[in-house]
């Protein structure tokens, strides 16, 4: 359970399987992004616990949660959140530069090559992100999310700013990547036409109505 300033998110129980692709839908303000923050350890529940595999996130210290997050969880944002002053390669490698927990080595560079090839942006690695299309930017963001070989991908409206053709392509790329890495995907989305691609759909409306999962 999590509450702040009159807002309460109370989830009796939520279990997500390995490599499961879960879509979270619901009205605005129902707590979907809050759930992602709780899962990634950015915020702590007031009651209950959150575990990823055998690691109880809610019991870790701030530093431990940060290290766990950057090493094991990949984020994909609606606005891509790429840095306009770095080129594509540096954006992909960005997580390695903001923590001591990760080190850039030959293997890392090889993974950048592989991921960018997979995403079809290998020829754009030296370009600044301002020179990319919307779809290319999100693919670069996916590469950044996958560079640490995460166990869990959290996508918050990953297709929200894309046109319909790109939405499908990005989702395809995301699914391919998560499948390849055997990662679990939790995606907050408003795009109902994409829901049938997911293994499970969690509707946060039930929490507003007080129903359990």
């Amino acid at each position: 359970m999590y509450g702040i300033d009159g807002f309460h998110l109370s989830i009796p129980q939520l279990k997500i399987e390995d490599a499961e692709k879960v879509a979270i839908i619901g009205p605005s303000g129902s707590g979907k992004t809050t759930l992602l923050k709780l899962i990634s350890g950015i915020i702590q529940p007031q009651y209950g616990s959150i575990s990823i595999e055998d690691t109880e996130i809610s019991q870790l210290s701030d530093a431990e949660r940060r290290d766990y997050r950057i090493s094991n969880i990949g984020f994909i944002f609606q606005d891509f959140e790429l840095l306009d002053y770095l080129n594509v390669q540096d954006n992909i490698l960005h997580p390695f530069r903001i923590t001591k927990a990760l080190k850039i080595d030959a293997q890392t560079k090889a993974r950048v090559e592989a991921l960018s090839q997979e995403m079809g942006i290998a020829n754009k690695l030296n370009r600044l992100v301002n020179h990319l299309s919307q779809g290319e930017k999100q693919r670069a963001a996916i590469c950044r999310a996958m560079i640490t070989t995460p166990k869990l991908i959290l996508a918050d409206e990953a297709t929200g700013n894309l046109d319909p053709r790109n939405k499908t392509k990005i989702l395809d790329a995301l699914f391919r990547s998560t499948d390849k890495n055997n990662a679990t995907l939790i995606a907050v989305t408003h795009d109902h036409e994409l829901l049938d691609r997911f293994d499970r759909i969690i509707d946060f409306k039930q929490f507003c109505q007080g129903e359990g999962i």
Binding site: R66, F77, Y85
Partner: protein, 393 residues
């Protein structure tokens, strides 16, 4: 740490306009107080070194600063004139040795210093090329004059008329360069030295012309008798002095009333200096004797007072500049709040965020420091000329 500098560097390069502006602002505000200090120190050095080696100056009563600045630094302000009688007075006292100066005229923008050959020995100047002036109309020039006008020994230099519209005034005199001084690192590098009598020729107190007794053109002669020939102004006067016409040059009137701008007096000892100064204080109504060192000390005292005021102003401006720079950085980081939130989400610690900010500030500070330092080095290289141009000439 390296990664933080890398990210900071990339940010700075991407936002180069903002970076350059910040670097320039910080450099400038750092440069100002140091440059002021350098220039003032150099001013003190230039002013004091000449002043301290010039024991006493005799001149017309009036502004002592003008007298000192004109006599030591050949500044444009001309003091009132005194006469050669004052030189005789100093010589006859046996208390001091006199070096007369007459700095009224210019050759283009360079001052013509009428003096005696003693001046070079007094200032310990040596001739690099040629020889000292020996005859009327000869000149020794500073190395700066030689370089800028491309003159060598044997070349000529014309004195400039005082006033383009004063047709009855001084005539340009063509002087022969007989010597070029070694570099002195003083105002003497940009001066033209001639015998005192040459400056009197420039003024018209002395001149050379055709022999009045053999003039054939009747319109050149107004009247003629056994003892006296009166010529008209049409008679040709020589505008240069050479071996052929040197003999014709002569002076009219009593040389003891010929003008000077100052006399450098070198006393035998302190007692002689005191006696000499006492004589001028008690006896001379229209002359003054000053100690250049004291005059320059007073001037520097005023300059330092102004400097303190300027320091205060610079300090206030610096505070304003720092606040402005702080505001720029604050706004910049506020605009980057989203970026900071993202990296916090990704797993970056707050400490690392601070490191990134510090790295950025550090790089800008380094560049500003380098720019300021190199500017100060350049300034130090040219400080002599800058000070002379700004404050002395």
């Amino acid at each position: 740490m390296i990664d933080s500098f890398y990210l900071a560097w990339r940010y700075i390069v991407f936002n180069r306009v903002k970076t350059i502006t910040l670097v320039l602002c910080i450099s400038l505000i750092s440069f100002l107080p140091f440059s002021l200090k350098i220039l003032l120190k150099e001013s003190e050095h230039q002013l004091m070194s000449r002043a301290i080696t010039t024991p006493l100056l005799v001149g017309a009563k009036g502004n002592s600063l003008d007298l000192v600045m004109n006599s030591l630094y050949f500044s444009k302000e001309k003091p009132d004139f005194i006469s050669m009688k004052a030189v005789e007075k100093v010589m006859d006292s046996y208390l001091a040795l006199p070096i007369p100066l007459y700095t009224r005229f210019h050759a283009r923008k360079y001052p013509i210093v009428g003096t005696t050959v003693d001046y070079f020995e007094f200032r310990q100047h040596n001739i690099a090329d040629g020889r000292s002036f020996a005859m009327l109309g000869e000149a020794v020039i500073g190395v700066g004059v030689a370089t800028q006008l491309n003159l060598k020994v044997g070349d000529s230099l014309l004195s400039s008329p005082e006033n383009l519209f004063d047709l009855a005034g001084v005539y340009p005199l063509k002087m022969t360069v007989t010597g070029i001084l070694k570099k002195t690192n003083s105002v003497d590098d940009k001066a033209v030295f001639v015998d005192l009598k040459t400056t009197w020729v420039i003024q018209g107190l002395g001149h050379g012309h055709q022999d009045v007794k053999t003039i054939q053109d009747k319109s050149d002669v107004l009247s003629r008798s056994d003892k006296l020939v009166t010529t008209s102004t049409k008679i040709k006067q020589y505008t240069e002095i050479n071996l052929d016409n040197l003999d014709s040059f002569h002076f009219h009137g009593d040389p003891s009333i010929y003008p000077l701008t100052a006399i450098i007096a070198i006393p035998q000892d302190d007692k002689s200096a005191t006696i000499l100064r006492g004589r001028y204080l008690s006896e001379q109504k229209n002359k003054q004797i000053v100690r250049p060192k004291r005059v320059i000390e007073d001037l520097l005292g005023n300059i330092f007072q102004i400097k303190e005021f300027i320091d205060a102003v610079v300090f206030i401006v610096a505070i304003a500049m720092v606040l402005a720079i702080f505001l720029v950085f604050s706004l910049s980081f506020r605009l980057r709040q989203k970026e900071i939130n993202t990296i916090l989400h990704l797993g970056c610690s707050r400490g690392t965020v601070v490191q990134l900010i510090v790295a950025e500030i550090f790089i800008i500070a380094i560049f500003s420091g380098l720019l300021c330092f190199s500017s100060l080095l350049v300034l130090q290289n040219f400080q002599g000329e800058i000070v002379h141009k700004l404050f002395i000439s």
